[in-house]
């Protein structure tokens, strides 16, 4: 498929007579097997492509897209984008599409064993998980997904970036009548997925949180496992680690560069090339990704850029464009947080009274500038007393500033793991945070 995408990229550029033209093609073949109530209930496969064309005439920008690779359709998309550009008033802030840069060609993002995964293999793996759950009289549910894809971006200034990818993910929720436990995996290579280990982890949480007690809302010391940390980090990025939010004065970083905005034990960066992440050698404008340190030892350093926001400040794109068009601007999609030295056990042992939290559910920013986030705990919330996990607790609602939470980080785990979040992925440790604010409770 990579060759077909490559040819289509070339054809679109040939078909266009505009001053500047950009074409982005994303092809994917995916399979998702969902299970619930210890049975497979939804099982789907999809093959799709998206051809997205942006043309520029005298700073007038037009866009069109379709899901067809045939020549006739490619020509129509170019014509429609060109026609749309004619209607657009000139954008004085648009300088140019990115100039030619060549991304690294030694980044391996395609694993044949993932691409070869079949519905039968998924059913086999799920069967083993369900058997483990049934042994404990528990109910298993989850989603097991594989995707094979090709991303190609080319423009009339010489950008030509193309790469094939594989991705595998498994999310698992194991339930008893009064509790639940969660575990998850995401990666490029299916052979690294250990279904048994995931099942055991979720089963343990479901068993240990049975008959949870209700605790009052208030401030507690918490230990957030990587899924919860990844969730918070994604919202922090969304709230202001991209250049557009800074340029529009909405980011929590406005006026804070060079200042300490969180605890000095926190360092956050984005790196699309690191082996621990779902690697992405270039962004959706085809620009090679650069490693960008966003927060260093608690100090606000910089944000990420696409070509539009970079030109505005007369600098180069950092390779963090999202697909055009979007209203979000550039974003860091491959986040990292620096590890600490503690084990999870040591973090628990050091806590006199607190909560161990597996993950958050339905989080949302109430105030992006103050980074106030609200959400619920879910699938494994535990009370820690005198250095030990003693019982499950009913889920709680938190309403908490992320910056404040990251200013109160007392311990960081040595072990990190890759977790999906609403914008991309994050390779993060567990965090022990003091005085985390819970504003409400629920009934389970």
């Amino acid at each position: 498929m990579k060759e077909k995408v490559k040819k289509a990229l070339e054809k679109v550029l040939q078909f266009s007579h505009a001053q500047q033209t950009e074409v982005l093609i994303y092809y994917s073949s995916s399979q998702v097997t969902r299970f619930a109530n210890n049975t497979i209930h939804q099982n789907v496969a999809e093959e799709n492509v998206n051809v997205s064309v942006r043309v520029i005439e005298d700073k007038r920008i037009g866009h069109a897209s379709s899901n067809n690779l045939k020549d006739k359709s490619l020509k129509e998309v170019v014509e429609k984008a060109t026609q749309n550009a004619k209607f657009a008033p000139r954008d004085p802030h648009f300088y140019s599409l990115p100039q030619k840069e060549i991304p690294r060609d030694d980044i391996v993002t395609f694993f044949p064993e993932t691409a070869a995964s079949s519905p039968e293999k998924k059913a086999n793996d799920i069967e083993k998980i369900i058997k483990l759950a049934l042994k404990e009289k528990l109910i298993a549910s989850g989603a097991y997904r594989t995707i094979t894809s090709v991303l190609g971006v080319a423009n009339s200034l010489g950008i030509k970036s193309i790469q094939d990818f594989t991705k595998v993910s498994l999310n698992l929720v194991i339930m008893s009548d009064t509790s639940s436990g969660f575990s998850s995996f995401v990666g490029e290579n299916i052979s690294l997925l250990d279904g048994k280990k995931l099942a055991q982890s979720a089963i343990k949480k479901a068993l240990e949180s049975k008959k949870p007690i209700k605790i009052e809302p208030g401030q507690y010391d918490v230990i957030l496992e990587p899924d919860a940390v990844s969730n918070m980090l994604a919202f922090l990025a969304y709230a202001g680690l991209g250049a557009l939010s800074v340029q529009e004065g909405r980011s929590f970083l406005c006026g804070k560069f060079g200042q300490k905005i969180m605890n000095e034990n926190i360092t956050i960066w984005d790196d699309g090339l690191a082996p621990e992440t779902l690697k992405l050698p270039f962004d959706f404008e085809g620009v090679p990704k650069k490693k960008i340190v966003l927060i260093e030892k608690g100090i606000a350093k910089r944000v990420v850029y696409d070509s539009y926001t970079a030109h505005k400040e007369k600098i180069k794109s950092t390779g963090h464009a999202l697909p055009y068009p979007n209203s979000v601007g550039p974003l860091p999609l491959n986040l990292f947080m620096k590890e600490g030295e503690a084990s999870l056990e040591e973090m628990i042992a050091s806590t006199d009274k607190g909560l161990l939290i597996t993950r958050f559910h339905y989080t949302n920013l109430e105030n992006p500038t103050l980074t106030i986030l609200t959400g619920m705990t879910r699938d494994g919330t535990f009370l820690i007393e005198k250095g030990k996990v003693t019982k499950g607790v009913k889920n709680l609602r938190f309403t908490q500033s992320i910056l404040e939470a990251f200013s109160n980080v007392k311990m960081i785990s040595k072990e990190r793991s890759l977790k999906e979040n609403m914008t991309g992925v994050a390779f993060v440790p567990a965090l022990k945070i003091k005085n985390f604010n819970f504003s409400g409770t629920t009934q389970f």
Binding site: S30, Q31, V32, T33, F35, A36, N37, N38, T39, I40, N43, V44, A45, E46, E47, N48, I61, H63, A64, S65, S66, N67, S73, K80, A81, N84, A85, F87, P89, D91, P119, A123, S141, A143, R145, M175, Q219, E248, G249, R250, G255, P325, S327, H361, Y362, N364, L365, E366, N367, P368, T369, T374, M376, N395, R397, T399, S439, G440, T442, F444
Partner: protein, 481 residues
């Protein structure tokens, strides 16, 4: 096209499936948006493909492709069967579908002006005028956004039971938002609703009726006024929710929890389950006696309106809550069969490449007796909450918390000063049981929402909510530390 459909269904039957359907979908979207006086997007998107769903050996298989060709139809049919075979290895019992009448029919949504026939210049004119008015409205406005979107969906559905249904749905809408900034204080006002505005399965006459330009200066001034407004107090009080927030309140705390697939645990690994259990249907006081909720896919202009759902079941109006009592859940053919009933026609798919799952249609609160002004006059103390800013609810849909763009004090029956950063929280049935006043038909408004997410792979669905403002007692408002 018909020959491809027949090929898929014949092939599925030949390989021994007990049921098969095919949907061929052709969608087009035109998006135009303006940001701070410049064009953010003039975009046109075409999306076409087909999906084949089959029931084989008592289990589902589904496969889909963008290549609408004979060979691909054959390949995808075989793949769907292969997938169903894999599913059936782990089945507990055979999936059965209740009897369903077969239809050969055509449905088209009604409109006066096809939004795709309106020139882009005309749409830009509306947006640029609104944008200019917002920026004129206040010097503190740092971000202005306005958008108009037009949608068209043509679908052919056919199944092995003899249905052949063609549908064409046209929709459009838009909205504006102004963000004021002063130091670290950021406040936003949106019109007619946040997160994109309002949408309807009407023609461009709907966009014209929104009067975006006429409301632009006002919302900019309100955003600026919020910068200096006092923080909303933390208090238990009476709240009156405006119609747009009522739409979201209904969506999150009645629509989703009454989806039968959630009730049956089928969404447990992603969006979650529901506090509603099967024994509650017909026996649970969900809300106060004045609350009547319907699911109405026949409502003119609703984003959840259609002729037939994506399983070929005819659009219906169903009572979900009557006099506060839970009567029905939203159901598909498969989920309805689990409780021994018939589908109420709410199985919907986000395009050709997704399976139909239980979705909201237009989930509406039936009007009450009084005008909004009368309800405010009748309120000694409380808050009038306008326009959603963010939403969150637990995975059984009990504990919710919504942040609002603006709160207005109500004192002795009159609206007073404004507050910023308001939010409110509650537990679903307690909250709905505290509803003691619902505005009447004159204040009833239909809202179209484009961003309802559910399922894996995720499906984003357009749904509708018709509702007037309503009053709730003893509600926790404000951030609690």
């Amino acid at each position: 096209m018909r020959s491809l459909i027949q090929l898929a269904l014949d092939n599925a039957s030949f390989y021994g499936t007990s049921y098969a359907d095919i949907r061929i979908v052709n969608e087009k979207t035109e998006s135009i948006s303006v940001r701070n006086g410049r064009i953010e997007e003039i975009s046109y998107h075409l999306n076409q493909g087909f999906g084949i769903r089959i029931l084989y050996n008592g289990s589902w298989g589904f496969a889909s492709s963008f290549r609408l060709e004979k060979k691909e139809i054959e390949r995808i049919t075989k793949l769907a069967i292969k997938i169903a075979k894999a599913s059936s290895r782990l089945k507990r019992e055979d999936i059965t579908l209740p009897h369903q009448e077969a239809y050969q029919d055509t449905y088209r949504s009604q409109y006066l002006i096809n939004p795709f026939s309106v020139p882009i210049e005309k749409k830009l004119e509306i947006l640029l005028a609104a944008d200019s008015q917002m920026r004129k409205g206040s010097k503190k406005i740092k971000l202005t956004q306005s958008q108009i979107q037009s949608l068209s969906k043509k679908q052919i559905f056919a199944n092995t039971e003899g249905s052949l249904i063609e549908q064409e749905i046209i929709a459009c809408g838009g909205g504006i938002a102004a963000t004021a900034v002063d130091g670290f204080e950021v406040q936003r006002r949106s019109y007619p609703n946040s997160f994109g505005g309002n949408y309807s399965t009407q023609g461009f006459e709907f966009v014209q009726s929104l009067k975006l330009e006429e409301n632009a200066e006002r919302i900019a001034q309100e955003a600026e006024a919020l910068l200096k407004a006092p923080e909303c107090p933390t208090i238990k009080t009476t709240v009156i929710l405006d119609s747009s927030q009522m739409a979201l309140q209904i969506h999150e705390s009645i629509g989703h929890p009454t989806e039968l697939d959630r009730v049956l645990g089928m969404e447990a690994s992603f969006a979650g389950t529901s506090f509603v259990t099967l024994d509650k249907i017909g026996n649970f006081q969900y809300a106060s006696e004045i609350v009547n909720i319907t699911a109405d896919a026949t409502l003119k202009g609703g984003m959840g309106s259609f002729g037939y759902d994506d399983e070929g079941v005819k659009a219906q109006k169903v009572e979900i809550i009557k006099n506060g009592l839970l009567l029905n859940c939203l159901s598909s053919r498969e989920t309805a069969s689990v409780i021994g009933g018939k589908s109420n026609g709410t199985a919907r798919a986000d395009g050709w490449n997704r399976i139909p799952i239980v979705r909201m249609t237009n989930i509406n609160l039936e009007p009450g007796d009084a005008r909004l002004e009368e309800i405010i006059s009748d309120t000694k103390e409380g808050l009038y909450l306008e326009t959603n800013k963010s939403w969150s609810i637990d995975d059984k849909r009990l504990n919710f918390q919504f942040a609002m763009e603006m709160a207005r004090e109500i004192k002795n029956g009159k609206l007073g000063r404004i507050y910023k950063n308001a939010n409110y929280t509650g537990i679903t049935p307690q909250f709905w049981c505290s509803c003691d006043a619902i505005a009447n038909k004159k204040d009833w408004q239909l809202w179209g929402v484009l961003n309802c997410g559910k399922g894996e792979p995720e499906q984003v669905m357009e749904v509708g909510h018709g509702t007037p403002p309503a009053r709730f007692r003893n509600v926790q408002v404000g951030l609690r530390k």
